[in-house]
């Protein structure tokens, strides 16, 4: 990554690759000055994300609530991101950071796949992610659960914003991780079947949805099998449907009145007087 923009052969400024941190010092100064600009806040996602290995691959799960402090910014966002045909990544932290980081590494892996003519390996993705996150010293707030299957088998990794990683048989991250981990710790076993693993992940995410305010709405599931097939179940469980609640609201009958209920006693039409051309215009362009 190069800092700042560079002149290319045609003497045109090319935008710098990656994130631009040129305003960092300015922002720090602003924070220190009294009564200056309001504290700049990044949009965060409270989240529950989970990943587990099972007998035939891995299962990833995530909730679908995106929050802006205490407000729900999006009720049904997608937190399981595509990295490679055999790898998906759940992201917690700042939504923009997780999306752009996973997209960047996904593109780098595609280039590598074309160069090497081989499918991508999880260790490659983990290394690319952790090197990038460490370089940004935790300022890229992306906490990830990466899962997939490669020639060495099924794997789950957790990656923290500062760049540390761990390889585990099961894990959870995000504000709802404690609720989810409680479920995982009580029920996880080695060599589960696909159904057992999916049920476990759904319960773990459910624990996060109902016990953590930062998580909610629906549960997305992604199953990546060792034979290379991917089963992406968007909104696999929808325990918080709004439609039945909305249907219960008593709305006044006066909201649906057909035309013609009000009798017309008299009607009169006067065209609006046309202002002569050359009159004063509100906005002078030149």
């Amino acid at each position: 990554m190069t800092a700042g923009s560079q002149m290319n052969a045609n003497n045109l400024h090319e935008p710098a690759a990656g994130f631009d941190f040129s305003n960092y010092l300015r922002n720090q100064n602003l924070l220190q000055t009294d009564g200056a600009a309001p504290k700049l806040k990044a949009k965060k996602t409270g989240t529950t994300i989970v990943g587990t290995v099972y007998a035939g691959g891995v299962v990833l799960g995530a909730d679908t609530r995106a929050t802006n402090d205490t407000e729900v910014a999006e009720r049904n966002c997608e937190k399981i991101h595509y990295i490679a045909p055999n790898m998906y990544c759940c992201g917690a932290g700042t939504a923009a950071d997780t999306e752009n980081t996973t997209a960047l590494i996904s593109r780098q892996l595609e280039l590598l796949r074309m160069d090497t003519a081989r499918p991508s390996r999880l260790v490659t993705a983990v290394t690319l992610l952790k090197r990038m996150l460490f370089r940004y010293q935790g300022h890229v707030s992306a906490a990830l659960v990466l899962g997939g299957c490669d020639l060495q088998g099924p794997h789950i990794y957790q990656i923290y914003p500062h760049g540390s990683t761990a390889k585990l048989p099961y894990t959870s991250m995000g504000s709802g991780s404690l609720a989810a981990m409680a479920v995982l710790e009580s029920s996880w076993q080695e060599n589960m079947t696909e159904d057992m693993a999916v049920q476990l992940v759904q319960r773990a995410i459910g624990a996060g949805i109902f016990n953590d305010l930062g998580s909610g709405s629906n549960c997305d599931i992604c199953i990546i099998k060792t034979d290379g097939t991917v089963d992406y179940r968007r909104n696999a469980v929808k325990p918080n449907e709004l439609a039945p609640l909305r249907a219960q609201v008593q709305r006044s009958g006066r909201l649906n009145m057909r035309p013609g209920l009000t009798p017309i006693i008299k009607s009169e039409f006067k065209p609006h007087p046309v202002v002569a051309a050359g009159g004063e215009t509100a906005m002078e362009v030149e």
Binding site: A9, R107, L111, M114
Partner: protein, 236 residues
């Protein structure tokens, strides 16, 4: 690139208005192994002669047809190392396009981007033009198949069918007679193999040629030798 000692372009006009370096580059292309392409209604096929100089060469490591985006691939005639540089650059540039626009780069954009890179090397300081002509097979943003040729000068042409490299003249004559507007990809592949065989020195097998195809609504793929063998068997 563009050192103080060589900040002037090495490709300069002759008195008659020609850019001789580009002409010479085209000569290098004409000496290269034949490559051809046919654009059918429902897909594009490109094929090339991969005849290796000796039986000792490990053909597994020689790849002439390369995937650039999931929807487009390159083939070439001319100087191999120059080709590799362009392939790497074009792949990276397509990922930038994907990053910027959120969609796979359509073949026409890929062609103009690559062509402008090739043109740069005819005007920048201290470099020489690429010694290759490219055949680009791919799908446009609306899924329509297209075949393009890009020359060392940076000019590009859209073709229904074309050939470059050795014997390109006779190959093009052959194609001219056989190309039809309602051609389907399967016919195009057969015609491509027949055309390649016309100018082939010695016996043409599934291991000394390479074939790449992209079907409408599909992805670009380089055919495996066993797939090529099936087509060759049908042709016999």
């Amino acid at each position: 690139m563009g050192d103080s000692a060589y900040s002037f372009s090495l490709t300069t006009f002759s008195r008659t208005g020609k850019l001789l370096q580009i002409e010479y580059a085209l000569n290098a292309v004409a000496n290269g192994r034949t490559a051809l392409g046919i654009c059918a209604q429902d897909g594009v096929v490109i094929a090339t002669d991969k005849k290796l100089p000796s039986v000792l060469v490990d053909s597994e490591h020689v790849q002439k047809i390369e995937t650039i985006t999931p929807k487009a691939g390159f083939c070439y005639a001319g100087v191999g190392p120059d080709y590799r540089v362009l392939v790497k650059r074009s792949r990276k540039s397509s990922q930038s396009y994907l990053s910027e626009y959120g969609e796979v780069q359509p073949v026409h954009q890929l062609v103009t981007d690559t062509a402008s890179t090739m043109q740069e090397y005819t005007q920048r300081g201290g470099v020489r033009p690429f010694g290759i002509s490219l055949l680009v097979a791919g799908l446009d943003s609306d899924g329509k198949p297209a075949l393009f040729q890009v020359d060392p000068s940076g000019s590009y042409f859209g073709w229904n069918a074309t050939a470059i490299g050795k014997n390109y003249v006779s190959a093009k004559n052959f194609l001219e007679k056989r190309w039809t507007e309602d051609m389907e990809l399967e016919d195009a592949i057969h015609t491509a193999l027949l055309t390649l065989r016309e100018g082939f020195e010695g016996e043409m097998t599934a291991h000394n040629i390479e074939v790449g195809i992209v079907k409408k609504d599909g992805e670009f793929q380089v055919l495996q030798p066993n797939q090529i063998q099936d087509y060759l068997d049908e042709a016999n």
